[in-house]
Symmetry: C2
Subunit: 357 residues, 2 copies
C-alpha cells in the first residue's frame, strides 16, 4: 500500500485538541479520539500493525509543530523496545537506472517470501507539493496494492539533516509495526547517500552498463560505500555489455580494502523488468546479514550508527544556532570580505566571530 | 637550515616582558629587545628574510600562551600582504616510502634552480620531546645545510586542528620571509592528509611498488586527493616493477573524474636516492601551477581553502566548547548508555544534551 497521508493531521493552528472530558457529548469524545489518538493509542495501534496509526505517527514525526514533535518523541521512545529487529537496505542510483522498477520487483519477491516490507525514501529536494521520488504511485503498481508492503514518500524539507532524521525515526515506527525489511531509497542528491549509508545494514548501488566507461563520472565515495553493485537492465541484447560492466566494477571494488566485517563487496547483474537475478540479490543480502550477525558486526554497526546520528545531530544544531545568530549574520560577510582581500587569516576571522558569542 | 627552536621563548611564566623604558640601563634595553622583539621588529626582520626572526615568530604562533598568540596574530596580519606568493606542495606517503630522502633530493633540486624552499610538517602525533618526522636532522643532511632552505618540524599538539592551524600560519610567515616554495610533509595519521590537502596547491602521494597488489590497502580517499602519484625507489632491479605499479595507479586514477581545473592526475616514477626522475616531477608541478594560474583556478582554490579553514575553525571551536562543558560531560555518558540500551533515539538524546546550553 502507498501512504501519501503526509497531511493526516489537519489542525490549521497546529495544536492538537486535548482529549475532551465533556461527559455530555460521548459522540464528540469518540470523534476527537479518532482525530487525535493519545500516545498510548498510537503505540497500541502501531504494535498491532495498524497502518493508519503508523501513517499518522509518521506524519507527527514529520511535522514541524512543537506539540506534534513532543508527541512523536513519546511514541518513538515507547516503540523503541519493539524496533530494531528488521533488515535495513539502502538503495541508490542515478535517475533512469530503474530504481522504482527494481524496488517493485525486489519488494514483491520479498513479500512472496513472507516478509513485510516498508519502503521509505530520503530525498532532500522533494516537497509534498512537488511530489517526491516515491510520490508517483504508478511507478510501483504492484507493490502499492500489496498488503505486506508499506510505501511512504520522502519527508519534505530543505535540510538533509532534517529529512534524514525523520526517515530514521520512521524506520523505528515501521519496525514496531512489524515490518521486518526496510528499504530506504535515495536519489543521491548531495550527501544523501552518505546519510542513507549511515542508517542501513546493507547499501546497494544500482548501475547501468555503458560504453566501457562505466566508472567515469561515478560520484566520489559511492563505490567505497557500496556493499554490492547491481547492474540493472541486463536483459536481451544488453547481457553482453552488462557482463563487461560487471568485470569493470569488480575490478574497481577490488581497489578498496574489504569492509570492516570482512565482506568483499559483490557485483551482480539483474533485470528488474523481467524479474531476472532478483533472487540472487536477495540471497546475497541475507548471506551478508547472517555473516554480520554471526560475528556481531550487525549490532556493532547499528550502535555506531546511533552514535553517529547523536553526534551529527548535536553538531548540526550547534552550527545552526551559530550561523542563524543575528550577530554572526552581520559580521560574517565582513570577515569573508577581509579574508578574500588578504586582510586577515581564517583563524583571526574565526576568533572574532566566535568572540561574539 | 633546520629549525628546532620551538622553545626560543624561554619565559617560564609564559608572559613576555614589556619593552622596558628604563632610561638608566641602555644595556638592559638592548638585551630585552633582543629577547623580546616588538611586533614591528618581528615584521621587519621577517620581511628582510631574517631566519632568527622567522623562527621565533613561528614559535610565537605555536605557543599556547595567550600573550604570545596575540602577538603572533598581529605579526601574521602585518605579514599577510607579503605572503601568498609561493607554490605550496603537500607530500604524503606511509613510513618507509622514502619521504625524507625524496624531500631532501627534491628540495636540493629546487634550491639549485634558485628557489627558496621552506619545509614544514603536519604530524598530530608528534611532540617536541618525542621528536617529529622532521626532527631527525640526519635524514636531510644536505638540505639542512642549504642556505636557501628552511626546515621546521611539526608543531606539537594532540589535536589535528591545532597542528594544522599552526602550520598554515607558519606558511604565511615563511612566504613573507621570501620562501617561494613551501613543502608540507605529512605522515598521514588520521585525517592529516585531508588537512594538508586543504592548505596546498599541489598534493603529491609517494608510493612504493609491491607484488602487483599496489592498490590493496591504500587509504580511502587518498587517491582522489592526489594531483600526482610518484612511485619512489624505482632504480636498478626495481625499475620493471615500478613500471607495472605505474600502470596500475594510472588505471586507478582514471576511475575518477578529472579535477575541477581539468587536470588529469599523473603517475611518475623516481629514485630520490639516485636523483632519478626528480626534474620531471618539478616540471610537472610547475606545469600544473602555470595551468592553474592561467585559468584562475589557483586563486579560486586558495580562496576556497581560506573559507574552508574559517568554517572548519569555527565548527571545531563550537564542538570543543560544547563537549568541554561540564554539563555536557556529565550527561553525555548517561545518554550514550541509554542509546546503547535502546532506551532512546539519537535525536531525543541530542535534544536533551542541547537543551543544557
Amino acid at each position: 500500500m502507498i501512504d501519501n497521508s503526509n497531511s493526516a493531521l489537519h489542525e490549521k493552528d497546529g495544536i492538537p485538541q486535548p482529549e475532551t472530558t465533556n461527559k455530555n457529548s460521548a459522540k464528540k469524545i469518540k470523534l476527537n479520539r479518532r482525530k487525535h489518538p493519545t500516545v498510548n493509542e498510537f503505540v497500541t495501534g502501531i504494535l498491532n500493525g495498524n497502518i493508519t496509526f503508523l501513517s499518522r505517527a509518521i506524519t507527527l514525526v514529520e511535522s514541524t509543530n512543537k506539540n506534534h514533535q513532543k508527541k512523536a518523541n513519546e511514541i518513538l521512545e515507547q516503540c523503541l523496545p519493539y524496533a530494531n529487529k528488521s533488515v535495513r537496505i539502502g538503495i541508490t542510483g542515478v535517475p533512469g537506472v530503474g530504481k522504482s522498477t527494481f524496488i517493485e520487483t525486489f519488494g514483491k519477491h520479498l513479500t512472496g517470501l513472507g516478509k513485510k516490507v516498508a519502503v521509505l525514501a530520503v530525498d532532500p529536494s522533494s516537497s509534498v507539493n512537488k511530489g517526491s521520488i516515491l510520490g508517483d504511485k504508478t511507478r510501483m503498481e504492484q507493490l502499492v496494492t500489496d498488503e505486506n508492503a508499506f510505501i511512504r514518500p520522502s519527508p519534505s524539507g530543505t535540510s538533509l539533516g532534517g529529512v534524514a532524521q525523520k526517515t530514521r525515526e520512521s524506520i523505528i515506527l515501521c519496525e514496531a509495526a512489524g515490518f521486518d525489511t526496510i528499504i530506504i531509497e535515495t536519489v543521491g542528491v548531495g550527501q544523501s547517500e552518505t546519510a542513507v549509508h549511515s542508517m542501513v545494514d546493507f547499501f546497494l548501488l544500482l548501475k547501468l552498463f555503458g560504453a566501457g566507461d562505466e566508472l567515469q563520472g561515478i560520484k566520489r565515495g559511492i563505490i567505497e560505500m557500496a556493499d554490492a553493485i547491481v547492474i540493472n537492465k541486463a536483459d536481451g541484447d544488453n547481457i553482453k555489455n552488462a557482463k563487461i560492466a560487471k568485470v569493470a566494477f569488480t575490478k574497481a571494488l577490488h581497489l578498496y580494502p574489504p569492509k570492516e566485517n570482512g565482506w568483499q563487496p559483490k557485483v551482480l547483474t539483474a533485470s528488474a523488468l523481467n524479474n531476472l537475478g532478483i533472487e540472487k540479490i536477495q540471497k546475497m543480502i541475507w548471506e551478508y546479514i547472517n555473516l554480520s550477525k554471526e560475528n556481531d558486526f550487525f549490532n556493532k554497526k547499528r550502535n555506531q550508527q546511533n552514535k553517529h546520528w547523536l553526534y551529527a545531530t548535536i553538531e548540526q544544531e550547534l552550527k545552526s544556532r551559530f550561523y542563524d545568530d543575528s550577530k554572526t549574520k552581520n559580521l560574517l560577510p565582513l570577515e569573508i570580505s577581509k579574508l578574500e582581500n588578504g586582510k586577515t587569516t581564517p583563524f583571526n576571522a574565526a576568533k572574532r566571530l566566535l568572540d561574539l558569542q
